[in-house]
Symmetry: C2
């Protein structure tokens, strides 16, 4: 039996979401981290991704003004650190210090990557679209890197990376086959 | 140790993707189904979602021209039927028949919902954005419904719905806690 949902609660009828930790910088190069459930790849050639960020978030204007971000992909072991980055504001704290995460140099953009994450997608903003109460940033991929031991035959090794999927911020990894 | 990826293979450094089955109709009301790994919620108020569709796909012009689609969320038990809907073209076959899926009436739009899926998000197209080799459709949610037994305390029950997450089309459900 199907039951109707109020349309503002539509996401309960949807699939799970990935979770990523996006890094960005302010004008002085000071880095911030935002935990996001709104990420998807969108184009193969040229390589592009999209993320959704609320204008209320501190990172929103950093990404808009500096035009760069990195999508860092966490394994399930980082769930607690992700929660810290998703609930504190970079206006008040240094999230790398607060969460005990390690910044590392990116290849093509100014924001640092998060060493503890298994994968890193470096992006330059090529378009911004207002969609209701969020901004959709379209990022062109300018570099990508991954933990060597999470790659098998050129593909992400799910058993090694243990990527996160969540619904209502209940973090899980994937079932074994 | 981090290793660089060619930027066109960036998605290996990214998180997992959900998988949904989107339904749409042609001008005569004939329905089609497309399996997509590009879906995300984008706005709470007004409720909006985005999907990414290649202009090469038969469903692309149906969604553009008719301005309506439904995001249907499958459980892992539908993996084989999803594969059929992702690899055959609606130009050649009736995918409901081909995959053995059951169309059901939607509340606010013309495309049918897929009865075997646990959730259904009915959308009207409010924006289209070309992002590289794909089109991003922004859909405003006009109705949503869910299998009664997949809802617990107003939220999606992961153990009952068994939603799909995938990387490189390797379908998995989520781990138990």
């Amino acid at each position: 039996m199907k039951t109707n949902l109020p349309k503002e609660r539509y996401s309960q009828a949807g699939p799970v979401a990935p979770t990523v930790m996006v890094t960005c910088v302010d004008a002085r190069g000071r880095p911030n981290i935002i935990t996001l459930g709104m990420y998807m790849p969108i184009s193969h050639d040229p390589p592009q991704v999209v993320i959704g960020v609320s204008p209320k978030r501190y990172s929103h204007d950093l990404i808009r003004d500096q035009g760069e971000f990195i999508v860092n992909s966490p394994g399930i072991g980082l769930a607690e650190k992700m929660h810290i980055c998703g609930t504190k504001s970079g206006r008040d704290v240094d999230k790398f210090k607060e969460a005990g995460l390690t910044p590392g140099p990116a290849r093509k953009v100014r924001p640092p990557l998060i060493q503890e994450c298994y994968g890193h997608i470096e992006c330059e903003v090529v378009n911004m679209v207002t969609c209701g109460d969020h901004t959709l940033f379209v990022g062109e991929v300018v570099a990508a890197s991954i933990d060597e031991d999470c790659l098998r035959d050129g593909k992400l090794n799910l058993s090694a990376a243990r990527p996160i999927a969540q619904k209502n911020w209940d973090y899980r990894t994937l079932s074994e086959k």
